[in-house]
Symmetry: C2
Subunit: 407 residues, 2 copies
């Protein structure tokens, strides 16, 4: 079997788990640590693929669940897969849909989530599942998760095998095992059960992936869960690292779940001390500067987050001194760029006053230009972390950054 | 006084009023006939100024009323004017706000428009006008129009002098006299009265403009109205052509008003047979292919319209065979570009299936990419008309275009 991914460590951060390296994929190299830009539905909100490229971003992450719902597997196939449809020629990732099990409000059986409870009052439409499974918006069983399309009412059932099959069709360079991302409000006993499912689904994802030819050109990352519990996180890291078929284990790892800001670095450290050093580690859904510094220092190589574009659409802008809300009156006649000194397209051309005017006027160019800046800021912040590791100045850089940047 | 605008005719269309030429402005040349892209609030919806430039567009038209409301005169001034704020270095125009008198539902006195009638039930807020004027959303009197800001409730009163003063602050290369754009549903007697106001306001706009230094670097166009009435249109053309100060008349003319599709060419012809040949003529708010062919053939030099971006945002796409609705199911697996053969950014990179997917997914990249295409299509259609006039092939080109394009 060919190698679908090659990870090389260039330099380690002294007395920590951090490192700088490269991930070689069939669509090019990701220089790590790196921020991966989120393009949920094969589109980064407010940026064309060329604009994403211009920010310096090296890779894009799309969402399996969303692409499965629209345009659907056949739609993606007819457009030639993710790279071809969105004309992004660099490396790509797809998450597995596991996060949507959480974000759409999943619960095991029929007694957990608020959304599920509410949905129970809605008459169920015809579906292909056994009646006794009674899925509403999302419901989880031993083999997978059932989603109800809120528009059509049609119910879809995703198993680990189906998630991988869909990700094979989408064709990203790096795909993820199907997991259950739990809410931090769940009880420990629920987290325990959910972790067993995540592990069972991880092994099944790996087996299915290795049974198909796509494994020659797509790398599969296993996902570590376990919430905030040290024993569960460590158990999950060990179990996921040990998952195997005759063709070997995972090509890399994703660290999933919701974290408290304050214990993120602890949880990441528990996990990365156990995961094999020679495989890349992706911290799922994390993108705030303070979290990425912790993530890098504790051995994560890549990150993704919707924050840069989501915040940008609503006029919240990253600057060297912290986030600003551009619609505030103080920026009404401010002719400085969004972040003075920034080299992004927006900052090279436009003033805070103009970007504020666009947001106040509800002109879509406002969200576009703000998102360009935020993506640039976050992508290049992580690039600077990488440079600092290579130059032995990481801790100085971190100190310097936070001497100005206020959370 | 320096010349703020130089118009040259390069070639005339035989046996018609049409011509190809150039309009030289302080920010460069508009090669006519030309489509001017609308950027109402100093932003073209869905396109950065660079993207507008990439379509081949030579000029942008913004809206005095909208910029006056947000960011306001002082806001525009602090950002250095229209060119500087939106970083558009080419020629610009601002309309005078007269169209908003119509589109916000104006009526003379207090008995005409539906909006005004509805607004009368809303308690009036404090304002600087005489109580007996009682403006609601818009109300017109001898000297100008009063607008009520629907958000703040504050009432603004725009006279011809104020409109020109605001347009001086905005700083477009070509500005328009303040007029009253009437609804086609108004009676002839109302049109008659409104035309008198438009003429009075035109002369006052000209006098105010010529009394200021800005007239050295901004050209002022008078506006011809008169609805569908031949006598009123001709009277308006004559009156506007003859308006003078000691510094001369208007630098060019706008033809305003609502037209029926079928009598647009007739009304334009009435007017352009009277207007002086050696000054440019702008057909306000018109941008459909069939209308622009008629406009060009009957002596109009420039056009503006929100249609390319408005339609693009909603997934309606110009093609060589007519407009298509990209969300239709027939395009689900269509891997052709939006308009096969088109050289725009969107068509060079993306498929119909992908653009459809973006619209179906409500991804803002869909409106962006569709607007880029539509602007390119319309701008380049008028460029092709210009080339055809220069090559003596205009009527062949028109015939060929409509042999494929279905309205």
């Amino acid at each position: 079997m060919e190698k679908s991914l090659v990870f090389k460590i260039e330099k380690k951060l002294p007395n920590s788990l951090g490192r700088a390296g490269t991930i070689e994929t069939p669509h090019g190299v990701i220089n790590t640590p790196a921020f991966i830009v989120v393009g949920t539905k094969a589109a980064v909100r407010g940026l064309t693929s060329d604009m994403v490229c211009d920010t310096g971003a090296e890779a894009v992450l799309a969402n399996t669940y969303h692409l499965y719902m629209q345009p659907g597997e056949e739609g993606v196939r007819s457009m030639g897969g993710l790279h071809q449809m969105m004309k992004w020629n660099g490396p790509t990732m797809t998450d597995s849909g596991g996060f949507q099990v959480f974000s759409l409000g999943a619960g095991y059986g029929s007694n957990v989530s608020k959304i599920l409870k509410e949905a129970k009052d809605v008459p169920l439409l015809k579906h292909e599942l056994d009646e006794d499974k009674k899925p509403s918006l999302v419901e989880i069983d031993y083999d997978g998760a059932a989603f109800k399309d809120p528009y059509s009412g049609i119910i879809h059932y995703i198993t680990p095998e189906r998630s991988i099959e869909i990700q094979h069709t989408i064709g990203a360079d790096i795909i993820f095992a199907f997991d259950e991302c739990t809410s931090p409000t769940e009880s420990r006993s629920y987290q325990r059960e959910a972790l067993d499912r995540t592990h069972r689904w991880g092994q099944r994802s790996l087996e299915y992936h290795h049974s198909k030819e796509n494994s020659d050109r797509q790398a599969l990352f296993g996902i570590v869960q376990g919430g905030r519990y040290e024993d569960l996180r460590k158990e999950s890291a060990r179990a996921t690292a040990e998952m195997m078929t005759e063709n070997g284990g995972f090509d890399g790892f994703g660290i999933g779940g919701s974290f408290d800001k304050d214990d993120l670095h602890t949880a990441v450290k528990w996990v990365n001390e156990i995961l094999p050093e020679d495989k890349p580690r992706h911290l799922l859904g994390i993108g705030e500067p303070e979290d990425m510094f912790e993530g890098v220092e504790n051995g994560c190589d890549t990150f993704d987050c919707v924050a840069p574009t989501r915040l940008g659409r609503h006029g919240t802008i990253y600057t060297d001194t912290g986030k600003i809300h551009i619609t505030n009156e103080e920026f009404e006649k401010d002719t400085k760029p969004l972040n003075p000194g920034c080299k992004c397209y927006t900052c090279r051309h436009f003033t805070r006053a103009y970007i504020r005017h666009l947001h106040k006027s509800r002109e879509m160019t406002g969200p576009m230009l703000s998102s360009i800046h935020n993506v640039y800021f976050i992508v290049n912040l992580v690039k600077r972390m990488r440079e600092a590791i290579l130059n032995d100045t990481f801790f100085d850089f971190k100190k310097d950054f936070f001497s100005r940047y206020k959370k």
